[in-house]
Protein backbone atom coordinates (compact mmCIF):
# COMPACT_ATOMS: atom_id res chain seq x y z
CA UNK A 1 0.00 0.00 0.00
CA UNK A 2 1.35 3.43 -0.94
CA UNK A 3 1.66 6.17 1.68
CA UNK A 4 -0.82 9.08 1.59
CA UNK A 5 0.47 11.96 -0.56
CA UNK A 6 0.96 15.52 0.75
CA UNK A 7 -1.48 17.88 -1.00
CA UNK A 8 -0.06 21.32 -1.88
CA UNK A 9 -2.58 24.14 -1.55
CA UNK A 10 -2.06 27.61 -3.08
CA UNK A 11 -0.40 30.02 -0.63
CA UNK A 12 -2.46 32.84 0.91
CA UNK A 13 -1.07 36.18 2.07
CA UNK A 14 -2.53 38.86 4.33
CA UNK A 15 -1.66 41.48 1.78
CA UNK A 16 -2.98 39.76 -1.32
CA UNK A 17 -5.57 41.42 -3.58
CA UNK A 18 -8.41 39.32 -2.11
CA UNK A 19 -7.64 40.41 1.44
CA UNK A 20 -7.31 44.04 0.40
CA UNK A 21 -10.68 43.89 -1.31
CA UNK A 22 -12.22 42.37 1.80
CA UNK A 23 -10.81 45.17 3.99
CA UNK A 24 -12.19 47.78 1.57
CA UNK A 25 -15.65 46.21 1.80
CA UNK A 26 -15.59 46.27 5.61
CA UNK A 27 -14.57 49.96 5.62
CA UNK A 28 -17.30 50.86 3.12
CA UNK A 29 -19.98 49.13 5.22
CA UNK A 30 -18.79 50.97 8.36
CA UNK A 31 -18.85 54.28 6.49
CA UNK A 32 -22.37 53.58 5.21
CA UNK A 33 -23.66 52.96 8.74
CA UNK A 34 -21.89 56.06 10.12
CA UNK A 35 -23.50 58.31 7.49
CA UNK A 36 -26.90 56.63 7.91
CA UNK A 37 -26.92 57.09 11.71
CA UNK A 38 -26.21 60.77 11.19
CA UNK A 39 -28.85 61.27 8.46
CA UNK A 40 -31.52 59.40 10.41
CA UNK A 41 -30.85 61.73 13.36
CA UNK A 42 -30.71 58.81 15.75
CA UNK A 43 -30.67 60.22 19.28
CA UNK A 44 -31.00 58.01 22.38
CA UNK A 45 -31.45 61.10 24.61
CA UNK A 46 -34.64 62.08 22.78
CA UNK A 47 -35.95 58.56 23.20
CA UNK A 48 -35.20 58.66 26.94
CA UNK A 49 -37.01 61.98 27.45
CA UNK A 50 -39.89 60.91 25.19
CA UNK A 51 -40.60 57.58 26.87
CA UNK A 52 -42.13 59.01 30.08
CA UNK A 53 -44.48 61.09 27.91
CA UNK A 54 -45.72 57.93 26.23
CA UNK A 55 -46.08 56.21 29.58
CA UNK A 56 -48.28 59.13 30.72
CA UNK A 57 -50.52 58.70 27.67
CA UNK A 58 -50.84 55.02 28.37
CA UNK A 59 -51.98 55.74 31.95
CA UNK A 60 -54.61 58.12 30.58
CA UNK A 61 -55.68 55.54 27.95
CA UNK A 62 -57.06 53.15 30.57
CA UNK A 63 -59.88 52.12 30.48
CA UNK A 64 -60.32 51.96 26.66
CA UNK A 65 -63.47 53.72 25.48
CA UNK A 66 -66.33 51.56 24.19
CA UNK A 67 -68.95 54.19 23.38
CA UNK A 68 -68.07 54.31 19.67
CA UNK A 69 -67.37 50.63 19.24
CA UNK A 70 -69.93 50.18 16.41
CA UNK A 71 -68.35 52.82 14.17
CA UNK A 72 -64.85 51.54 14.93
CA UNK A 73 -65.84 47.98 13.99
CA UNK A 74 -67.43 49.25 10.78
CA UNK A 75 -64.15 51.00 9.95
CA UNK A 76 -62.24 47.79 10.68
CA UNK A 77 -64.54 45.89 8.32
CA UNK A 78 -63.87 48.60 5.72
CA UNK A 79 -60.15 47.91 6.07
CA UNK A 80 -60.60 44.17 5.53
CA UNK A 81 -62.91 44.77 2.56
CA UNK A 82 -60.48 47.28 1.03
CA UNK A 83 -57.56 44.84 1.32
CA UNK A 84 -59.61 41.91 0.02
CA UNK A 85 -60.95 43.73 -3.06
CA UNK A 86 -57.59 45.34 -3.79
CA UNK A 87 -55.75 42.03 -3.51
CA UNK A 88 -58.31 40.21 -5.67
CA UNK A 89 -58.07 42.90 -8.34
CA UNK A 90 -54.28 42.59 -8.21
CA UNK A 91 -54.45 38.78 -8.44
CA UNK A 92 -56.57 38.89 -11.60
CA UNK A 93 -54.37 41.52 -13.26
CA UNK A 94 -51.16 39.73 -12.22
CA UNK A 95 -52.36 36.38 -13.60
CA UNK A 96 -52.96 38.01 -16.96
CA UNK A 97 -49.58 39.67 -17.29
CA UNK A 98 -47.15 37.44 -15.38
CA UNK A 99 -46.42 35.13 -18.35
CA UNK A 100 -45.15 38.13 -20.32
CA UNK A 101 -42.68 38.90 -17.55
CA UNK A 102 -41.08 35.44 -17.45
CA UNK A 103 -37.78 34.82 -19.15
CA UNK A 104 -38.65 31.22 -20.09
CA UNK A 105 -42.23 31.56 -21.38
CA UNK A 106 -42.70 35.12 -22.60
CA UNK A 107 -44.31 35.05 -26.06
CA UNK A 108 -41.89 37.75 -27.23
CA UNK A 109 -38.75 39.51 -26.03
CA UNK A 110 -40.34 42.74 -27.23
CA UNK A 111 -43.02 42.38 -24.56
CA UNK A 112 -40.77 41.05 -21.80
CA UNK A 113 -38.84 44.24 -21.04
CA UNK A 114 -41.73 46.75 -21.20
CA UNK A 115 -43.75 44.42 -18.95
CA UNK A 116 -40.91 44.15 -16.44
CA UNK A 117 -40.55 47.97 -16.39
CA UNK A 118 -44.27 48.47 -15.86
CA UNK A 119 -44.31 45.97 -12.99
CA UNK A 120 -41.21 47.53 -11.43
CA UNK A 121 -42.82 50.97 -11.51
CA UNK A 122 -46.02 49.65 -9.91
CA UNK A 123 -43.98 47.83 -7.30
CA UNK A 124 -41.74 50.82 -6.66
CA UNK A 125 -44.65 53.08 -5.68
CA UNK A 126 -46.10 52.07 -2.32
CA UNK A 127 -49.86 51.52 -1.79
CA UNK A 128 -49.74 54.48 0.58
CA UNK A 129 -48.44 56.80 -2.15
CA UNK A 130 -50.93 55.47 -4.73
CA UNK A 131 -53.75 55.97 -2.19
CA UNK A 132 -52.62 59.56 -1.62
CA UNK A 133 -52.87 60.20 -5.38
CA UNK A 134 -56.22 58.43 -5.73
CA UNK A 135 -57.77 60.34 -2.81
CA UNK A 136 -57.12 63.45 -4.92
CA UNK A 137 -58.61 61.79 -8.01
CA UNK A 138 -61.64 59.83 -6.72
CA UNK A 139 -62.21 61.54 -3.38
CA UNK A 140 -61.93 60.49 0.27
CA UNK A 141 -62.92 56.97 1.28
CA UNK A 142 -61.95 53.32 0.94
CA UNK A 143 -62.24 53.18 -2.88
CA UNK A 144 -59.03 55.22 -3.15
CA UNK A 145 -57.49 52.61 -0.83
CA UNK A 146 -58.69 49.75 -3.02
CA UNK A 147 -57.04 51.31 -6.07
CA UNK A 148 -53.83 52.03 -4.15
CA UNK A 149 -53.56 48.49 -2.77
CA UNK A 150 -54.56 47.00 -6.11
CA UNK A 151 -51.97 48.81 -8.23
CA UNK A 152 -49.01 48.31 -5.92
CA UNK A 153 -49.86 44.67 -5.27
CA UNK A 154 -50.35 44.05 -9.01
CA UNK A 155 -46.69 44.88 -9.61
CA UNK A 156 -45.32 42.95 -6.63
CA UNK A 157 -47.49 39.91 -7.17
CA UNK A 158 -46.85 39.61 -10.91
CA UNK A 159 -43.13 39.74 -10.23
CA UNK A 160 -43.31 36.91 -7.68
CA UNK A 161 -45.64 34.92 -9.95
CA UNK A 162 -43.15 35.32 -12.79
CA UNK A 163 -40.31 34.16 -10.54
CA UNK A 164 -42.31 31.09 -9.50
CA UNK A 165 -42.95 30.29 -13.16
CA UNK A 166 -39.28 30.75 -14.05
CA UNK A 167 -38.23 28.03 -11.60
CA UNK A 168 -40.61 25.47 -13.10
CA UNK A 169 -39.09 22.31 -14.60
CA UNK A 170 -39.05 22.58 -18.42
CA UNK A 171 -39.45 18.81 -18.93
CA UNK A 172 -43.24 18.40 -18.55
CA UNK A 173 -43.81 21.53 -20.64
CA UNK A 174 -41.69 20.05 -23.44
CA UNK A 175 -43.47 16.71 -23.16
CA UNK A 176 -46.87 18.36 -23.58
CA UNK A 177 -45.54 20.54 -26.41
CA UNK A 178 -44.46 17.38 -28.20
CA UNK A 179 -48.04 16.10 -28.00
CA UNK A 180 -48.89 18.93 -30.40
CA UNK A 181 -50.34 21.28 -27.78
CA UNK A 182 -50.56 25.01 -28.55
CA UNK A 183 -49.05 27.54 -26.17
CA UNK A 184 -52.26 28.34 -24.24
CA UNK A 185 -52.84 24.60 -23.86
CA UNK A 186 -49.31 24.05 -22.54
CA UNK A 187 -49.73 26.87 -20.01
CA UNK A 188 -53.10 25.65 -18.79
CA UNK A 189 -52.37 21.93 -18.78
CA UNK A 190 -48.72 21.54 -17.79
CA UNK A 191 -47.65 24.84 -16.21
CA UNK A 192 -50.66 25.78 -14.11
CA UNK A 193 -50.99 22.57 -12.05
CA UNK A 194 -47.27 22.72 -11.28
CA UNK A 195 -47.14 26.35 -10.10
CA UNK A 196 -50.58 26.60 -8.50
CA UNK A 197 -49.34 25.95 -4.94
CA UNK A 198 -46.65 28.64 -5.20
CA UNK A 199 -49.11 31.11 -6.73
CA UNK A 200 -51.65 30.41 -3.97
CA UNK A 201 -48.97 30.89 -1.34
CA UNK A 202 -47.90 34.24 -2.83
CA UNK A 203 -51.54 35.38 -3.03
CA UNK A 204 -52.22 34.51 0.60
CA UNK A 205 -49.08 36.33 1.67
CA UNK A 206 -50.21 39.51 -0.08
CA UNK A 207 -53.74 39.29 1.29
CA UNK A 208 -52.33 39.10 4.80
CA UNK A 209 -49.74 41.79 4.10
CA UNK A 210 -52.34 44.14 2.60
CA UNK A 211 -54.61 43.92 5.61
CA UNK A 212 -51.72 45.12 7.75
CA UNK A 213 -50.77 47.77 5.20
CA UNK A 214 -54.37 48.97 4.87
CA UNK A 215 -54.64 49.82 8.56
CA UNK A 216 -52.63 53.00 7.89
CA UNK A 217 -54.22 54.00 4.56
CA UNK A 218 -56.88 55.97 6.47
CA UNK A 219 -54.16 58.39 7.55
CA UNK A 220 -54.17 59.85 4.01
CA UNK A 221 -57.97 59.80 3.85
CA UNK A 222 -58.39 56.46 2.08
CA UNK A 223 -60.89 55.03 4.57
CA UNK A 224 -60.77 52.19 7.05
CA UNK A 225 -59.64 51.96 10.64
CA UNK A 226 -56.60 54.16 9.96
CA UNK A 227 -58.87 57.18 9.68
CA UNK A 228 -60.06 56.64 13.26
CA UNK A 229 -56.46 56.13 14.35
CA UNK A 230 -55.54 59.54 12.98
CA UNK A 231 -58.68 61.25 14.35
CA UNK A 232 -58.06 59.91 17.86
CA UNK A 233 -54.42 60.97 17.75
CA UNK A 234 -55.34 64.46 16.50
CA UNK A 235 -57.87 64.85 19.34
CA UNK A 236 -55.42 63.32 21.87
CA UNK A 237 -58.30 60.97 22.78
CA UNK A 238 -56.15 58.20 24.24
CA UNK A 239 -58.86 55.77 25.46
CA UNK A 240 -60.28 55.77 21.92
CA UNK A 241 -56.80 55.38 20.42
CA UNK A 242 -56.25 52.40 22.70
CA UNK A 243 -59.48 50.77 21.49
CA UNK A 244 -58.44 51.32 17.85
CA UNK A 245 -55.03 49.72 18.46
CA UNK A 246 -56.67 46.74 20.18
CA UNK A 247 -59.06 46.26 17.25
CA UNK A 248 -56.15 46.37 14.79
CA UNK A 249 -54.22 43.83 16.85
CA UNK A 250 -57.13 41.41 17.08
CA UNK A 251 -57.98 41.83 13.39
CA UNK A 252 -54.43 41.26 12.15
CA UNK A 253 -53.92 38.25 14.42
CA UNK A 254 -57.19 36.67 13.31
CA UNK A 255 -56.32 37.18 9.62
CA UNK A 256 -52.83 35.73 10.16
CA UNK A 257 -54.36 32.64 11.75
CA UNK A 258 -56.93 32.26 8.99
CA UNK A 259 -54.28 32.65 6.34
CA UNK A 260 -51.99 30.10 8.03
CA UNK A 261 -54.90 27.64 8.14
CA UNK A 262 -55.73 28.24 4.47
CA UNK A 263 -52.08 27.79 3.51
CA UNK A 264 -52.06 24.44 5.27
CA UNK A 265 -55.12 23.40 3.28
CA UNK A 266 -54.04 24.71 -0.13
CA UNK A 267 -50.32 24.20 -0.43
Amino acid sequence: MKSAPIYQEPATSWRGPRQRRRLAVVLLVLLFYGVSLHLAQVSPQKLLTGLPKMAGWMMKAWPPSTNELDILLLRAAETVAMAAIGTTLATILALFVCIFATRNLTPSRLLFYPMRWLLNILRGVDSFVFALLFVAAVGLGPFAGVLGVGLHTWGSMAKLYAEAIETVEPGPLEAVTMAGATRPQVVSYALLPDVLPSLASVTLFFWEFNIRASTVLGVVGAGGIGQELKNSMDLLDFPRLFTVLLIILVMVTAIDQLSAWLRGRLV
Binding site: G171, P172, A179, Y189, A190
Partner: protein, 273 residues
Protein backbone atom coordinates in the same frame (compact mmCIF):
# COMPACT_ATOMS: atom_id res chain seq x y z
CA UNK B 1 -36.44 -7.11 -40.03
CA UNK B 2 -34.56 -5.78 -43.02
CA UNK B 3 -31.70 -3.42 -42.48
CA UNK B 4 -31.93 -1.64 -45.80
CA UNK B 5 -34.68 0.76 -44.77
CA UNK B 6 -36.55 1.95 -47.80
CA UNK B 7 -36.32 5.73 -47.68
CA UNK B 8 -39.78 6.21 -49.17
CA UNK B 9 -41.35 4.03 -46.48
CA UNK B 10 -39.30 5.53 -43.63
CA UNK B 11 -41.20 7.16 -40.76
CA UNK B 12 -38.15 9.21 -39.88
CA UNK B 13 -35.47 10.41 -42.20
CA UNK B 14 -32.58 12.54 -40.93
CA UNK B 15 -30.17 13.91 -43.51
CA UNK B 16 -26.80 15.55 -42.72
CA UNK B 17 -27.98 16.94 -39.41
CA UNK B 18 -25.49 19.23 -37.65
CA UNK B 19 -25.65 21.21 -34.43
CA UNK B 20 -22.93 23.40 -32.93
CA UNK B 21 -22.59 24.96 -29.50
CA UNK B 22 -19.97 27.71 -29.20
CA UNK B 23 -18.27 26.51 -32.38
CA UNK B 24 -18.04 22.87 -31.25
CA UNK B 25 -19.95 20.35 -33.34
CA UNK B 26 -22.12 18.41 -30.89
CA UNK B 27 -23.90 16.60 -33.70
CA UNK B 28 -21.78 16.30 -36.82
CA UNK B 29 -23.36 15.50 -40.18
CA UNK B 30 -25.60 12.66 -38.98
CA UNK B 31 -27.91 10.83 -41.40
CA UNK B 32 -30.28 8.02 -40.43
CA UNK B 33 -33.65 6.49 -41.20
CA UNK B 34 -36.13 4.48 -39.16
CA UNK B 35 -38.79 2.36 -40.86
CA UNK B 36 -42.32 1.60 -39.59
CA UNK B 37 -42.32 -1.28 -37.10
CA UNK B 38 -38.58 -1.07 -36.57
CA UNK B 39 -36.98 -0.77 -33.12
CA UNK B 40 -33.65 1.01 -33.51
CA UNK B 41 -31.26 1.53 -30.59
CA UNK B 42 -28.83 4.43 -30.51
CA UNK B 43 -25.72 3.64 -28.45
CA UNK B 44 -22.95 5.91 -27.33
CA UNK B 45 -21.10 7.14 -24.24
CA UNK B 46 -22.29 10.16 -22.25
CA UNK B 47 -21.62 13.34 -24.16
CA UNK B 48 -21.75 11.63 -27.55
CA UNK B 49 -24.55 13.96 -28.64
CA UNK B 50 -27.48 11.55 -28.39
CA UNK B 51 -29.74 13.91 -26.45
CA UNK B 52 -28.89 16.86 -28.69
CA UNK B 53 -29.64 14.74 -31.76
CA UNK B 54 -33.02 13.81 -30.27
CA UNK B 55 -33.86 17.39 -29.37
CA UNK B 56 -33.06 18.42 -32.95
CA UNK B 57 -35.16 15.58 -34.37
CA UNK B 58 -38.08 16.63 -32.14
CA UNK B 59 -37.64 20.29 -33.23
CA UNK B 60 -37.19 21.33 -29.60
CA UNK B 61 -33.84 22.82 -30.66
CA UNK B 62 -33.12 24.59 -33.98
CA UNK B 63 -30.67 22.95 -36.40
CA UNK B 64 -27.46 24.38 -37.79
CA UNK B 65 -27.65 22.21 -40.89
CA UNK B 66 -29.47 19.31 -42.53
CA UNK B 67 -33.09 18.21 -42.63
CA UNK B 68 -35.47 16.12 -40.52
CA UNK B 69 -38.39 14.50 -42.35
CA UNK B 70 -41.15 12.93 -40.27
CA UNK B 71 -44.11 11.44 -42.10
CA UNK B 72 -43.02 13.14 -45.34
CA UNK B 73 -43.01 16.58 -43.74
CA UNK B 74 -39.83 18.58 -43.31
CA UNK B 75 -40.11 19.51 -39.67
CA UNK B 76 -37.82 22.51 -39.32
CA UNK B 77 -39.50 24.51 -42.07
CA UNK B 78 -42.82 24.49 -40.20
CA UNK B 79 -44.08 27.24 -37.88
CA UNK B 80 -47.00 27.83 -35.53
CA UNK B 81 -50.09 25.68 -36.06
CA UNK B 82 -48.37 23.54 -38.71
CA UNK B 83 -45.52 22.72 -36.34
CA UNK B 84 -48.01 21.81 -33.57
CA UNK B 85 -49.83 19.49 -35.97
CA UNK B 86 -46.58 17.89 -37.17
CA UNK B 87 -45.46 17.28 -33.59
CA UNK B 88 -48.45 15.00 -33.06
CA UNK B 89 -46.62 12.55 -35.32
CA UNK B 90 -43.62 12.39 -32.95
CA UNK B 91 -44.10 10.74 -29.59
CA UNK B 92 -41.27 11.47 -27.16
CA UNK B 93 -40.33 9.45 -24.08
CA UNK B 94 -37.89 11.12 -21.72
CA UNK B 95 -35.35 9.83 -19.22
CA UNK B 96 -37.03 11.83 -16.45
CA UNK B 97 -40.56 10.80 -17.56
CA UNK B 98 -41.68 14.47 -17.57
CA UNK B 99 -45.18 13.85 -16.31
CA UNK B 100 -47.17 16.76 -14.91
CA UNK B 101 -46.71 15.68 -11.32
CA UNK B 102 -49.86 17.12 -9.78
CA UNK B 103 -52.20 15.68 -12.43
CA UNK B 104 -53.61 12.14 -12.28
CA UNK B 105 -52.19 9.33 -14.42
CA UNK B 106 -55.29 9.55 -16.62
CA UNK B 107 -54.93 13.29 -17.17
CA UNK B 108 -51.27 12.77 -18.03
CA UNK B 109 -52.27 10.24 -20.68
CA UNK B 110 -54.97 12.62 -21.92
CA UNK B 111 -52.15 15.16 -22.45
CA UNK B 112 -51.36 13.02 -25.50
CA UNK B 113 -54.71 14.14 -26.96
CA UNK B 114 -54.02 17.89 -26.59
CA UNK B 115 -53.10 18.21 -30.24
CA UNK B 116 -56.54 16.92 -31.26
CA UNK B 117 -58.77 18.81 -28.84
CA UNK B 118 -59.99 22.44 -28.95
CA UNK B 119 -58.48 24.78 -26.35
CA UNK B 120 -61.73 25.46 -24.45
CA UNK B 121 -62.00 21.76 -23.65
CA UNK B 122 -58.44 21.79 -22.35
CA UNK B 123 -59.10 24.85 -20.17
CA UNK B 124 -62.18 23.19 -18.64
CA UNK B 125 -60.53 19.72 -18.52
CA UNK B 126 -63.53 18.39 -20.49
CA UNK B 127 -62.17 15.81 -22.91
CA UNK B 128 -64.51 14.06 -25.37
CA UNK B 129 -65.68 10.62 -24.22
CA UNK B 130 -63.82 8.93 -27.08
CA UNK B 131 -60.53 10.48 -25.96
CA UNK B 132 -61.10 9.40 -22.35
CA UNK B 133 -61.85 5.85 -23.52
CA UNK B 134 -58.70 5.83 -25.63
CA UNK B 135 -56.62 7.11 -22.69
CA UNK B 136 -58.03 4.43 -20.38
CA UNK B 137 -57.33 1.77 -23.02
CA UNK B 138 -53.71 2.96 -23.26
CA UNK B 139 -53.33 2.84 -19.47
CA UNK B 140 -54.82 -0.65 -19.54
CA UNK B 141 -52.33 -1.68 -22.22
CA UNK B 142 -49.35 -0.65 -20.07
CA UNK B 143 -50.96 -2.39 -17.08
CA UNK B 144 -51.86 0.68 -15.03
CA UNK B 145 -55.64 0.88 -15.36
CA UNK B 146 -55.93 0.49 -11.59
CA UNK B 147 -53.84 3.64 -11.05
CA UNK B 148 -55.76 5.88 -13.47
CA UNK B 149 -57.00 8.29 -10.81
CA UNK B 150 -53.79 8.45 -8.81
CA UNK B 151 -51.62 11.53 -8.92
CA UNK B 152 -48.52 11.03 -11.08
CA UNK B 153 -46.10 11.94 -8.28
CA UNK B 154 -47.50 9.11 -6.13
CA UNK B 155 -46.38 6.48 -8.66
CA UNK B 156 -43.03 4.67 -8.70
CA UNK B 157 -40.41 5.48 -11.34
CA UNK B 158 -41.29 2.45 -13.45
CA UNK B 159 -44.99 3.23 -13.25
CA UNK B 160 -44.35 6.85 -14.21
CA UNK B 161 -42.42 5.76 -17.29
CA UNK B 162 -45.33 3.46 -18.21
CA UNK B 163 -47.74 6.39 -17.89
CA UNK B 164 -45.40 8.33 -20.19
CA UNK B 165 -45.54 5.45 -22.69
CA UNK B 166 -49.35 5.41 -22.44
CA UNK B 167 -49.30 9.16 -23.14
CA UNK B 168 -47.32 8.56 -26.32
CA UNK B 169 -49.69 5.74 -27.33
CA UNK B 170 -52.71 8.01 -26.79
CA UNK B 171 -51.02 10.54 -29.04
CA UNK B 172 -51.22 7.91 -31.83
CA UNK B 173 -47.96 9.04 -33.37
CA UNK B 174 -46.38 6.85 -36.04
CA UNK B 175 -42.89 7.47 -34.67
CA UNK B 176 -41.55 7.29 -31.12
CA UNK B 177 -38.34 8.90 -29.91
CA UNK B 178 -37.16 7.52 -26.56
CA UNK B 179 -34.28 9.40 -24.94
CA UNK B 180 -32.58 7.09 -22.40
CA UNK B 181 -35.99 5.80 -21.29
CA UNK B 182 -34.54 3.32 -18.79
CA UNK B 183 -31.56 5.24 -17.42
CA UNK B 184 -33.42 6.16 -14.20
CA UNK B 185 -34.91 2.70 -13.64
CA UNK B 186 -33.75 -0.50 -11.94
CA UNK B 187 -32.68 -3.39 -14.25
CA UNK B 188 -35.93 -5.39 -14.06
CA UNK B 189 -38.17 -2.38 -14.64
CA UNK B 190 -35.85 -1.31 -17.45
CA UNK B 191 -36.36 -4.62 -19.22
CA UNK B 192 -40.13 -4.50 -18.94
CA UNK B 193 -40.19 -0.93 -20.28
CA UNK B 194 -38.03 -1.89 -23.26
CA UNK B 195 -40.18 -4.95 -23.82
CA UNK B 196 -43.23 -2.69 -23.94
CA UNK B 197 -41.53 -0.39 -26.45
CA UNK B 198 -40.58 -3.36 -28.63
CA UNK B 199 -44.15 -4.66 -28.65
CA UNK B 200 -45.37 -1.22 -29.66
CA UNK B 201 -43.07 -1.39 -32.67
CA UNK B 202 -43.96 -5.00 -33.54
CA UNK B 203 -47.71 -4.96 -32.93
CA UNK B 204 -48.58 -1.46 -34.04
CA UNK B 205 -46.01 -0.90 -36.77
CA UNK B 206 -44.65 2.19 -35.08
CA UNK B 207 -41.07 3.29 -35.73
CA UNK B 208 -39.07 3.48 -32.48
CA UNK B 209 -35.71 5.20 -32.08
CA UNK B 210 -34.38 4.64 -28.57
CA UNK B 211 -31.10 5.79 -27.06
CA UNK B 212 -29.48 3.50 -24.50
CA UNK B 213 -26.13 3.21 -22.88
CA UNK B 214 -26.19 -0.49 -22.01
CA UNK B 215 -24.93 -2.50 -24.98
CA UNK B 216 -26.49 -5.75 -23.73
CA UNK B 217 -29.97 -4.22 -23.55
CA UNK B 218 -29.57 -2.85 -27.06
CA UNK B 219 -28.51 -6.24 -28.46
CA UNK B 220 -31.41 -7.98 -26.74
CA UNK B 221 -34.21 -5.64 -27.79
CA UNK B 222 -33.23 -3.75 -30.93
CA UNK B 223 -33.58 -4.75 -34.59
CA UNK B 224 -30.81 -2.41 -35.62
CA UNK B 225 -28.08 -0.58 -33.74
CA UNK B 226 -26.70 2.88 -34.38
CA UNK B 227 -23.55 4.02 -32.63
CA UNK B 228 -22.57 7.59 -31.91
CA UNK B 229 -19.37 9.06 -30.57
CA UNK B 230 -18.22 12.66 -30.37
CA UNK B 231 -21.19 13.83 -32.41
CA UNK B 232 -20.64 11.45 -35.31
CA UNK B 233 -22.58 8.37 -36.32
CA UNK B 234 -20.00 5.54 -36.47
CA UNK B 235 -22.22 2.46 -36.67
CA UNK B 236 -25.40 1.45 -38.43
CA UNK B 237 -25.81 -2.34 -38.30
CA UNK B 238 -28.40 -5.07 -37.86
CA UNK B 239 -28.13 -6.22 -34.24
CA UNK B 240 -26.77 -9.65 -35.18
CA UNK B 241 -23.69 -8.12 -36.79
CA UNK B 242 -22.57 -6.16 -33.71
CA UNK B 243 -19.19 -7.45 -32.49
CA UNK B 244 -16.61 -6.62 -29.84
CA UNK B 245 -14.72 -4.54 -32.41
CA UNK B 246 -17.74 -2.30 -32.76
CA UNK B 247 -18.12 -1.97 -29.01
CA UNK B 248 -14.52 -0.83 -28.69
CA UNK B 249 -15.06 1.68 -31.46
CA UNK B 250 -17.74 3.34 -29.33
CA UNK B 251 -16.52 2.94 -25.80
CA UNK B 252 -12.74 2.35 -25.70
CA UNK B 253 -10.96 5.10 -23.77
CA UNK B 254 -14.12 7.14 -24.02
CA UNK B 255 -14.19 8.29 -20.42
CA UNK B 256 -10.78 9.11 -18.95
CA UNK B 257 -12.37 10.05 -15.57
CA UNK B 258 -13.98 6.64 -15.26
CA UNK B 259 -10.61 5.00 -15.84
CA UNK B 260 -8.75 7.06 -13.28
CA UNK B 261 -11.39 6.09 -10.73
CA UNK B 262 -10.65 2.42 -11.35
CA UNK B 263 -6.88 2.66 -11.38
CA UNK B 264 -6.72 4.51 -8.09
CA UNK B 265 -3.19 5.69 -7.37
CA UNK B 266 -3.77 6.82 -3.79
CA UNK B 267 -5.17 4.83 -0.87
CA UNK B 268 -8.63 5.57 0.56
CA UNK B 269 -8.37 8.28 3.24
CA UNK B 270 -8.54 6.77 6.70
CA UNK B 271 -12.06 6.40 8.03
CA UNK B 272 -13.96 6.72 4.77
CA UNK B 273 -15.15 3.14 4.74
Amino acid sequence: MSMGTDVAAAQLQVLNLSKHYHGVAVVDNVSLTVAPGEFVALLGPSGAGKTTLFRCVAALTPLDGGTVVVNRRELHTLRGAQLCAARRDIGVIFQQFNLVRRLTALHNVLAGRLGYVPTWRVLLRRFPAADRQLALACLDWVGLLGHAYQRADRLSGGQQQRVAIARVLAQQSRFILADEPVASLDPETAESVLDTLRSIARERGIAVLCSLHQVDLATRFADRILGMRQGRLLLDLPTAQLSAVHRNLLYAAAAPEAQSMQQRSTPMPFGVL
